[in-house]
Symmetry: C2
DNA sequence: TTGAAAGCGCTAACAT
DNA sequence: ATGTTAGCGCTTTCAA
């Protein structure tokens, strides 16, 4: 049943119905009551796609990601979850599966954007988000907010939430040094990651040198963490503390330490990064850097709606730092 | 730029453009080439909402859930992720944030459905999915697939993926009995859950009695698991093995056991349920029941598209069982 | 193989 | 306060 048919059935005009539903038009309370009442009775429900076509708004926000496996990271999953409530509070749904892998894919994205199929986008990038993509989006006057480790050059319609690494590096450095560690290791992900540099610099500031032989860049999996730790501990003067770039690496390292008969945190302190679910339940529970998912999500959503409401708005970049969560896996040097 | 303007610019009719893009119409190869070529050149991209209005298809599937906190379960997050690839393979996106909490919310859902804003729905229900909801959906000829622990009465346009509990209960019972345990406990979620009954029955079949005092229904959190285990082990004749309804309960229990000086699995075996990420990395690694997320997701999506392609199809219910993953936390009785 | 015209169901000026 | 009318941008008969 369309609005015309429904209008005839209940004896008012389509306009009145539209007004009654949106609440935006001038209708008498009595008429509005009647319309809403009859809607249920007849089971009429407006066609969203028609509305979207004519209003140019969809009440949809897309979550754009660079690769198809982005949800493999548990942290990202939790982030996705965190977007839901703030969006729902504004009457918005979240669109998933929008990848921006290549130029080919950009077009699919731009199609959805130019055609007003989504009102805004949140762009997730573990690595750097291609400037070309952001420029393309900006050019189509599409409000979007990028979330990544990197700063995004200021451009119109594009907000940015930066997940800072520097502060976390400092907090870990300070903790370990305070606990008396002087021989410290780092277990990393890949060569593009900035964390090892930051960590080395922060240790330097505290008078400790992160030697190259104590930096292991192995990969993403627990096995990589185990492998890295094994190498590190097989050196003549093995470190007494290790900062692992992710909790998964940290857990792999702890497992390997146990296998090698090294007590954590008795003989080796381990600090992770992410505060994934369950790491507080391990034995020992994991000391790690936590990023507040809700904070990230509400910041991004707030920013996005600012841009959506005022297309001219120049939104400031927002930096969000990690916070050290003290648990059992790191302790004073013996 | 709309199709009309674009048509004039490149000197063909809107019809031809539509045909060239969809590939459905009869157009010469040369013309199609031209159109696609010029699309990039001029940056024309069709309006999706207009297309959706006229075709009645949106290439969107909604993920419907009963409460707002559904993504709090890590298992559910992983399920969401698993839907993405099969949907993308068919050119579909996934719509998140569609709750069906109350009758009020049903209307929001039905609006999206009746208005063809989504082509189909996947309904997630940890508990039983309200029959009324499914009937409403079926009545609007809306293809949907329910995923839950419960069987859904057969009705048109509604498929069902049942996450069976019985088989898992049997596998755990068999494992523990084979390992020589005779005094066995259960750590449960809530009174609505069928698992304790199934587990008791399966133990019964093997000649073991699950005594009421060994069944603790405490809640969802690790603390609940710890609390339950403490009570259970404080009894005169504490069990030598415990089946926990979820991995989180199991981890809470293991933590508490350690705190009580009880070795796992030396003096107490613990089996969990879900195989959450990281539980394989704990010390000891967790023996648990695993449900194949990809299998569930592809089953549901396959079923959904069957219903979408052939509205008359009566889709068979599909049962998916858990599989025991043997790790370290459960072992032979000493 | 291509084009003209009608209409998808709604909203929003503009009357009344 | 309510109704009339003209599109929104596309697809799809139908005709050429």
């Amino acid at each position: 049943m369309d609005i015309k048919e429904f209008a005839q059935k209940i004896g008012v005009s389509p306009t009145t119905i539209s007004h009654a539903i949106s609440g935006r038009g001038r209708v008498s309370d009595a008429t509005r009551e009647l319309v809403l009442q009859k809607m249920k009775e007849y089971g009429y429900t407006p066609n969203l796609n028609a509305r979207r076509l004519v209003t140019g708004r969809s009440f949809l926000v897309a979550l754009v990601h660079m690769d198809r496996e982005f949800l493999a990271h548990i942290f990202t999953m939790e982030l996705v979850r965190a977007f839901l409530a703030p969006l729902k509070a504004r009457g918005y749904d979240l669109l998933l599966n929008v990848t921006a892998e290549s130029t080919v894919e950009y077009s699919g994205l731009l199609e959805r954007v130019d055609s007003r199929a989504v009102d805004g986008s949140i762009i997730l990038g573990e690595a750097e988000i291609p400037g070309e993509l952001l420029r393309e989006l900006g050019r189509s006057y599409h409000p979007c907010v990028a979330i990544s480790h990197y700063r995004v050059g200021s451009m119109p319609h594009v907000g940015s939430v930066v997940l800072g690494l520097r502060s976390g590096a400092r907090q870990v450095a300070e903790l370990l040094v305070k606990q008396g560690h002087t021989n410290i290791g780092f277990l990393g992900l890949d060569s593009a990651d900035q964390m090892p540099r930051f960590f080395a610099e922060e240790l330097q500031n505290l008078g400790i040198r992160l030697s190259d032989s104590n930096v292991m860049i192995e990969g993403h999996d627990a096995e990589d963490g185990a492998e890295g730790l094994r190498k590190m501990m097989s050196q003549p003067a093995p470190p007494t503390a290790v900062f692992a770039r992710t909790d998964v690496l940290a857990l792999g390292a702890i497992g390997e330490a146990k296998a090698m008969g090294i007590d954590v945190p008795g003989s080796l302190s381990v600090v992770g990064h992410d505060d994934l679910p369950l790491v507080s339940l391990m034995q020992p529970s994991l000391t790690t850097l936590r990023r507040d998912r809700m904070h990230i999500a509400t910041s991004a959503v707030d920013m996005l709606f600012q841009l959506m409401e005022d297309p001219g708005a120049m939104v400031a970049e927002r930096l969000i730092d990690s916070k050290l969560v003290l648990r059992q896996s790191a302790g004073p040097v013996k």
